[in-house]
């Protein structure tokens, strides 16, 4: 299982780096917008969410780490189960989620790219990163744009199925275009990429929401750009780390790590 170990090792380093970068970007770009949206959610009263988010003014809630009053204000957490306290705890869990899924995405990226010969350097990594961004952010984001809390949405399970189906179809399509030099397969690839959008993502019955259009648009841009940076960093770091290993260990074959 040497290969397995090496691939996991590279993915762990790359996922850690990219996850930390993404967590920083989110703290700056997306989380403040989520907190703002939660104010509308509270005011609208509709779908009650268990984050009370009392400190959702422009000072970002990370620095004002005062979980005790936040909990005092929180309405007895209904039946939505445990949730991290606002402030530092909530931020810390976001960071952990970023790093863990960063490693998860890195595992997928490294495994798939090894089938195609591997990411040899940071520049190849950037292109692989672009592909990852197209597959995991752009394509599903067309049908299911990033949502803020209090925005209406269709059934969760159906959306998740559409999301994964779109990811798989887009990845297969891009793979066919990139690695098969055949016109019929390229046409098939385009059909695969287009198909999920012809089927259409599950949409809510009504689009009525207390969230202002401008806030949502800002959020869509923030999510898309932060994800782009995440994927570029992830691909580039995989290229650098992998290149370093194969560079020093070609004579050792796969006995490094």
């Amino acid at each position: 299982m040497n290969l397995f170990r090496n691939v996991v090792f590279i993915a762990a380093i790359a996922g850690l780096v990219a996850g930390v970068v993404l967590a920083c970007l989110q703290a700056y770009a997306t989380v403040p917008l989520i907190l703002k949206a939660e104010v509308y959610e509270q005011a609208g009263g509709g779908h009650h969410h268990d984050h009370a988010a009392p400190a959702a003014n422009d000072t970002n809630a990370m620095s004002s780490a005062a979980p005790a009053p936040a909990e005092a204000v929180a309405p007895a957490a209904e039946d939505e189960g445990w949730a991290p306290a606002d402030g530092f705890e909530r931020f810390a869990f976001s960071v952990v989620a970023n790093i863990v899924t960063g490693i998860g995405f890195a595992l997928i990226l490294v495994a798939v790219s090894e089938f195609a010969g591997g990411i040899g350097n940071w520049r190849q990594g950037v292109f692989w990163g672009l592909a990852g961004f197209a597959v995991f952010t752009l394509a599903p984001g067309l049908g299911l744009p990033p949502e803020l809390p209090a925005m209406p949405a269709a059934d969760l399970t159906q959306r998740q199925i559409w999301w994964w189906a779109t990811v798989v179809a887009t990845a297969a399509g891009l793979g066919l275009i990139a690695f098969r030099k055949s016109l019929p397969l390229a046409i098939l690839a385009v059909l695969l990429i287009v198909a999920p959008h012809v089927v259409g993502a599950p949409q809510p019955d009504s689009f009525e929401t207390p969230i202002p259009e401008g806030l949502h648009h800002q959020f869509v841009v923030a999510v898309t750009v932060t994800n782009l940076v995440f994927w570029l960093v992830l691909g580039a770091v995989v290229g650098v780390v992998r290149g370093r290993f194969t560079g020093t260990a070609t004579s050792l074959r796969d006995s490094f790590a």
Binding site: L3, A83, V96, A111, N121, A153, L156, D254
Partner: protein, 59 residues
């Protein structure tokens, strides 16, 4: 883009290579699926801001 063709684990048989890489990919899908897509309330709440920020289907 095809200059560096040094591959990891070139000495393992192609079948074993395929299995190991497939296993890695599955592991990655499992990790992302658990953190970003599981319906367990506690997991959803812990990664709430992350899920929204990644445009994962949420709520």
């Amino acid at each position: 883009m095809t200059t560096a063709s040094v591959s990891l684990g070139a000495s393992v048989s192609s079948q074993s290579r395929f299995m190991q890489l497939a296993l890695v990919a599955l592991l990655g899908i499992f990790v992302v699926g658990f953190v970003g897509f599981s319906h367990i309330d506690a997991v959803h709440n812990a990664a709430h801001d992350y899920r929204h920020s990644m445009a994962f289907p949420c709520h």
